[in-house]
Amino acid sequence: MNNFLLAWIVLIPLLSSMTLGLMYLFSIKVIKIPNIVFTVLGLSSPFLSFMIGFSFFLQMIGNHEIFLYKAYRWLSVDGYDIDMGFMADKLSIFMVLFITFVGGLIHIYASGYMKTDKGYGKFFFYFNLFLASMLLLVLADSPIIMFIGWEGVGVCSYFLISYYYEDTKNVQAGNKAFIANRVGDLGFIIAMITMIYYVGSNGFDYINLEAGMQNVPINVLTFIGSALFVGAIGKSAQIPLFVWLPDAMAGPTPVSALIHAATMVTAGVYMVARFHFLYDLIPNVGLIIAYVGAFSALFAAIIATKQTDIKKILAYSTMSQLGYMFIAVGLGGYSVGIFHVFTHAFFKALLFMGAGAVIVALHHEQNIFKMGGMRSKTPIVYFAMLIATLAITGIPPFAGFFSKDEILLTAFSSGEYLIWGIGVLTAILTAYYMFRLLFVVFHGKNYQESRKLHTISKSMIMPLIVLAFGSIVAGFIGIPEILGGNNLVGSWLNDWKNSSLHVEHSREFILMGINILAAVIGTYVAYKKFFNYDMAIVPKYNGIIWKKFYIDEIYDRFIVKKVKEVSIFISYKVDVNFIDMIVMGLSRGFIKSGHFISKVQNANTRFYAFFMLVGISVISTYLIMVMR
């Protein structure tokens, strides 16, 4: 009955962003509008969306209702009708809740972080648009509407990553993100076209697709699933399309927080979960997804151990955690994967915000080996970061423990021991690099004690506290049954998709123990190496890991350069010698023939009369032929 409110979840941030954009233009062209106006408008929209989302959440408790709202018919082409439709089931409303909640907190944080930026209004315009796109992606009722949000997210990430556009490097990073995403989008589009071809004849929303999928040949399904996953790889930064994610750190820190926690990168995981009906039919592709996730997780974790840029470390950790999520959704544990998305949103947002606070305090210093000793100077940030680090490491009872444990449990119980092994190894590495970061930044001996710190505003601290609290408790809604909890997330999402596991309790305990042990080992190694680290010796890193396995260079050499060569060939050879020749030849031909024809109009009346005669003659001949 109130289903139209679904559209307003998306519309509020969208309208707000449009208003902000217009106001910003007005502000720079006519009269300066005070920042407080932008702040109020920009911050209110995520919370209004959250309220609406929460009302739907309340209506959904205890039943299996799915809310559908078709706003209007968007396209109608030759029998294919595409409605601008919104759908809220348990999965999407769950996503909406934490996107708007964490997103809203990041908005508050950004209002502090960007306080002195001259493009303040513009920044919130992008931010709200980003949120609106993500919400549209989540609430869409068909892949096509989802694709609008999908592209919106991509373009907003481009805007925000290259936000400091005065620096060419940042713009290049934005381009990189956008192009890498486009590669993935191609997969999405191909998958969508194939789906329309095979099952699009009677409606193209998820419900019809789910029904239609049963009759499609298995190899076609495999193709669709693989192509969709290419899209997910691009968006969620998995091997081999992850290169944009570390570079995306070029944007302001709230942007990194928003991209990595609430929006964008989770889109890929969400999509795989959304198409669970497809992936259930093709477990082989699911296995590939799980392996890609596992290797991405390990790969990113290895790279992260040697990085020195605080934000890059966090970026690789995001990639690693996304790998975990793909392990879960690939093996059919959709609720587990989404649970990890949820907890990850909290602690990753917290990590980025904490890192941002440190960076601001140290006047935009990002190298962790130039920080050190921040514990006494910024105690709140320290505690927030500590909680977040514990959460991502998987130390109970913090949020990450429960979700990570369930993922590894899923992997183990599915019989994929290799994936499980990689997961545990990654967990050790995660603990190692996260505590390395924490120890170096907050405990390391600092020789620049006298340095004056930049003040961190209240609006940046407040979300930290909220999220720190969230990182502690977020896991509690998913406490597994053996620990006395009742796995609220699992049962909530079970209504939507049953993915319960049956493992012996003793084995489950052992696995849990192994996880904790892995976390402790990693922490211990980091403690030995980096606790009270002496900043006098800034380590010089080199070697293959520091160079990120030369992936960027390999891509540069084998893809970027080749594409450039082809582009240069086309632009200087084909374009000049072929296309231009045709185009210019045509226009020159027109000019020449124009000159030639203009000779006919030579003001010679007799000549005109002669041509009139020719015309009369031709028409007469024709009429004689016709009139028998």
Binding site: S598, A603, N604, T605, R606, A609
Partner: protein, 106 residues
């Protein structure tokens, strides 16, 4: 032969064709003018022969009006020729191109 409509029409068409050929082939502005007169007369002949054919006076009135207009035309045309000849010292109809926009383009 003289009581067949077609022979009159044929004669009219021959005269009309001769007039047309005069217009397209001759440069002399006088002859162009006379050719036009000849064409008018050919049309008059068609009118009158059709009037005879249908036994009505209306075409004759038409022919009369055409002759009157030809007279008016003669007055204007000939005065124009006088003016043009005074200016250009030539009777070549091809050089009378002042009203064309040809020069504007080149």
């Amino acid at each position: 032969m003289a009581d067949s409509l077609l022979s009159y029409i044929a004669l009219a068409m021959i005269l009309f064709s001769i007039g047309f050929l005069g217009v397209i082939s001759r440069k002399n502005i006088f002859i162009v003018y006379m050719s036009i007169e000849l064409m008018l007369n050919a049309i008059n002949l068609i009118f009158i022969s059709l009037g005879r054919y249908y036994e009505t006076m209306v075409p004759q009135v038409m022919a009369m009006i055409i002759i009157a207009i030809a007279a008016a035309e003669a007055a204007v045309f000939l005065s124009l020729i006088v003016v043009l000849y005074r200016r250009k010292k030539s009777l070549d109809s091809d050089i009378f191109t002042v009203l064309s926009q040809k020069d504007a383009h080149e």
